[in-house]
């Protein structure tokens, strides 16, 4: 039952926190929460860490790799996006030469 309690409380916390994110930031929000569900990688670590069976080695290692793509890629790409939002647009007008292509 404790786990159900945690789940229900997390639903409320999730709705409360996320409904305050403005539409403008929905893409980074989505990409960040996307990175957060990469936490399933822990499951892969536990599977491989305690496995002694060939199939579990293979499945678990793929799961870890998938999870790592999800986590590392997700947080990094969110960081890149948010860097664009937080920079001061008025100070540097002539600095966008790299985006030409």
């Amino acid at each position: 039952m404790t786990e159900i309690t945690i789940f229900v409380l997390a639903v409320f916390v999730g709705f409360e926190v996320i409904s305050k994110v403005p539409t403008t930031l929905h893409t980074p929000l989505m990409s960040q929460t996307n990175a957060i569900h990469g936490i399933v990688m822990l499951g892969g670590l536990i599977v491989v860490g305690f496995a002694n069976d060939g199939v579990e080695y293979v499945i678990g290692t793929i799961a870890i790799a998938f999870g790592a793509i999800n986590i590392v890629g997700g947080f990094m790409v969110t960081d890149r996006m948010l860097g664009m939002f937080s920079r001061k647009p008025k100070s540097k007008a002539g600095s966008d030469g790299k985006g030409g292509a």
Binding site: T24, T27, I36, F66, I69
Partner: protein
């Protein structure tokens, strides 16, 4: 070297997991404002590091070679992909990351089943049921996201692909999945691994069949929904593994995906099930848009457009997916810069479903250095429209169609739109008069105060910026 000290399920490990998910919540909370969002993302990433290190320190962990291999390959792919991706490709990137997350969940569920069977004891229902749920939803999410990725990347056609009787096939698949799940749960003393794999395969087929018929412009909804699915399946995996970090993190993502899905659906004035199952837009009957004689419209060149804009007091730019396709965000910003030099007020009107994922346009414009304050949401900008001298529509179509307001029989009737036709003048930059995603003619193009500029968005914007500079 620290010895593996944490007892699995012990107080120390649980406490560290609580630290991890608290950091996720704080991180998301900081995401409510652009100035703190970057730090918030780092905080959440820190939470992830705590969770991963805690798990690696669990007593009894082994097979380090494989763990390092998995982490190394995955991290390398993640780093390279996130550095190389263009901002216009963000929707498919998110779809892909979402897919691998779902795939990981499905694989973990599979190995949990194997593990449970190999121990040979009765599989407790409170972990078997979450494992089954995680397997099904993870598999649907993996394949559904991959199809969404392939569509957004133009690897397969973005138009809806539907076979006759598809709804029936989907219903049968769903029924079969439910029956197999029940059989597995009833047989919890020795669940069959073969049946579980069959379950994963059926869920995979369902994931493919559900997303294939969905058109490109409905992708914001699909991506949000699949994000919610992967989150919930991760939470289910947490129930199975008795891991609070997974439960809380997965649930947070589930909530976020659900909220975004509902917001997108509201913004289209359609229900989620209508979006998922109707094959809306460009379905066989919808293709007849371009036939018959052309209705009268006004066509102008870049120079005329530049004059209209340069002598306006206020201009509103309405971007759509076409802006992303043409990579026109920087060129549009140049037009805005030229106008601002002349004292013209320039704002951007963002429709909630413009682009291919929620907030897609905001990211592109932020990439082009457009100030956050100039990005206006639909509700905010619509009352300003009658006081706007020129509205410039770049690569947007259905979200500006006045038929949504005026024609109760239109397929998009009731959809909230950016009311550009209320502006004094409208310039539409578009390649042709062809209908948008909804497959219907846009009445806006034929209104007396609308001028059409037929061109590629990026080329046209560059030309307009140059012309304004020469005035």
């Amino acid at each position: 070297m620290v010895e593996a000290v944490l007892k699995p399920g012990g107080d120390a490990a649980t406490a560290l997991y609580i630290v991890a998910f608290s950091l996720f919540i704080i991180g998301i909370k900081q995401g409510t404002h652009p100035t703190t969002a970057k730090r918030g993302n780092l905080i959440a990433a820190g939470g992830m590091a705590v969770a991963v290190v805690t798990t690696l320190l669990l007593d009894g962990m082994g097979n380090w070679g494989l763990i390092v291999l998995g982490l190394g390959i995955g991290s390398a792919i993640g780093v390279i992909a996130s550095i190389r991706v263009q901002m216009t490709e963000m929707p498919q990137m998110v779809a892909l990351y979402n897919g691998v997350g779902g795939g990981a969940v499905a694989l973990i569920a599979w190995s949990e089943i194997r593990h449970g069977i190999s121990i040979g004891e009765d599989f407790p229902l409170d972990s078997l049921i979450p494992v089954i749920f995680a397997g099904i939803v993870g598999s649907v999410s993996f394949w559904g996201s991959n199809i969404a990725f392939a569509k957004l990347q133009d690897l397969i056609p973005t138009r809806p692909i539907a076979a006759p009787g598809q709804q029936v096939i989907n219903a049968i698949l769903l029924l079969a999945i439910i029956v197999i799940s029940v059989v597995l749960a009833v047989d919890h003393e020795s669940p069959s691994e073969g049946l579980f794999i069959l379950l994963l395969v059926l869920a995979a087929i369902l994931g493919n069949l559900v997303v294939l018929p969905i058109g490109g412009a409905d992708m914001p909804v699909v991506i949000s929904l699949l994000n919610a699915f992967t989150g919930l399946s991760a939470a289910a995996a947490g129930f199975a593994l008795d891991n609070v970090a997974l439960i809380v993190a997965g649930t947070l993502v589930g909530s976020s995906g659900t909220i975004l899905t509902l917001e997108m659906a509201t913004a289209m004035n359609r229900s989620v099930s209508n979006i998922l199952f109707s094959g809306f837009g460009g379905a066989p009957s919808g293709g007849g848009g371009g036939t018959g004689e052309e209705k009268p419209h006004v066509s102008i060149g870049a120079q005329d457009a530049a004059i209209k804009l340069a002598y306006a007091d206020s201009v509103v730019i309405v971007p759509g997916y076409g802006l992303a396709v043409a990579q026109a965000q920087h060129a549009i910003k140049e037009v805005a810069d030229e106008l601002e030099k002349r004292g013209v007020t320039v704002n951007y009107a963002i429709h909630p479903v413009a682009g291919r994922m929620p907030g897609h346009m905001n990211v592109l414009l932020a990439e082009a250095d457009v100030a956050y304050e100039n990005l206006k949401e639909m509700e905010e900008i619509n009352p300003e429209m009658p006081r706007t001298d020129v509205a410039v529509v770049v690569g947007a179509n259905d979200v500006t169609n006045p038929a949504a307001k005026n024609d109760p029989d239109s397929p998009i009737a009731g959809m909230p739109i950016i009311e550009v036709s209320e502006a004094q003048e409208v310039i539409v930059i578009k390649r042709s008069l062809s209908p948008g995603f909804a497959g219907i003619d846009n009445d806006l193009f034929y209104e007396p105060n609308t001028s059409m500029l037929f061109a590629d968005a990026k080329a046209a914007a560059a030309e307009i910026a140059a012309e304004i500079g020469n005035l």
